[in-house]
């Protein structure tokens, strides 16, 4: 099993998925992220999937779960860089990624987190 590295930038955690995820790595990432959010006091999480070629229902569910967990820990999650083919496939699959914020790229993801927090005061 490969572990996905988590980077910290200010109060944002950035995960860039560069490997072909197996289900075990997905679950590990879920746990690692929750731990990191608590230990660093991060307010935002960005998951960059620019390099991800497919998102199936298991990986899709991970996004929703991570978003829900981090929200409970007072951090917002944004998934960025989804490829068009992946998005079209997810729609066909019937997965809507409920509760997950998305942005076109890393830069817009960061801007979105700042905007969300600015709005919250």
């Amino acid at each position: 099993m490969q572990r996905v590295p988590i980077l910290k930038l200010g109060d944002i955690l950035i995960v860039s998925i560069q490997i072909d995820l197996d289900d075990q790595s997905v679950l590990a990432l879920q746990e690692d992220l929750a731990d990191m959010v608590v230990s660093t006091g991060a307010r935002g999480v960005i998951i960059d999937i620019t390099a991800v070629e497919i998102v199936d229902s298991f990986i899709g569910r991970m996004f929703s779960t991570i978003a829900a967990i981090t929200r409970m820990l007072d951090a917002e999650t944004v998934v960025v860089g989804m490829r068009p083919a992946v998005a079209i496939t997810l729609v066909e699959l019937g997965l809507s990624l409920g509760g997950v914020r998305t942005a076109l790229n890393l830069e817009k993801g960061v801007a979105m987190l700042e905007h969300v927090r600015g709005g919250a005061g």
């Binding site: 289900d23 070629e53 497919i54 298991f58 569910r61 079209i88 066909e92 019937g94």
Partner: protein, 133 residues
């Protein structure tokens, strides 16, 4: 014409290998990027199904040539408990493993042809085909 490839599905890592092999062959026969992604996603769902519901199985990936368009056919088989109610298993949101219930119904929408054969105690066989445009 390449011979059909048979791959085992026994671990999480095998599911990843099935995805990669499907992707390689789909690209080789010239499927569009979207169609490649669809068949690879379907392969991932069905391989996981075999792993989760039957404790493993195997897949045969075959390139279909000679017709007007090339195609890719994947046959997933397992010796698991089988599906008692196929109709129900194909219903969206129906899940026995605590998933989203999109595995079967979702993969059916991602491919051009979908065939499911199963009986209780006799395992399950799912055949999916994607044709080039």
């Amino acid at each position: 014409m390449s011979a059909p490839r048979e791959l085992p599905i026994a671990t999480n890592g095998d599911v990843v290998v099935v995805r990669q092999q499907t992707r390689t062959l789909a690209a080789e026969i010239g499927l569009s990027l979207v169609d490649q992604t669809k068949i690879v996603t379907a392969a991932s769902e069905l391989a996981r199904n075999a792993l989760v519901h039957a404790g493993g199985g195997r897949v045969v990936i075959e390139v279909l040539e000679g017709g007007r368009r090339p195609g890719l056919r994947l046959v997933f088989t397992d010796e698991g408990p089988g599906i008692p109610d196929i109709e129900q298993a194909l219903t969206e949101g129906w899940s026995t493993a605590g998933g989203l219930g999109l595995g079967l119904s979702g993969s059916r929408r991602l491919v051009d042809e979908f065939d499911l054969v199963s009986a209780p105690g006799e395992g399950t066989s799912v055949t999916v085909t994607k044709w080039g445009r």
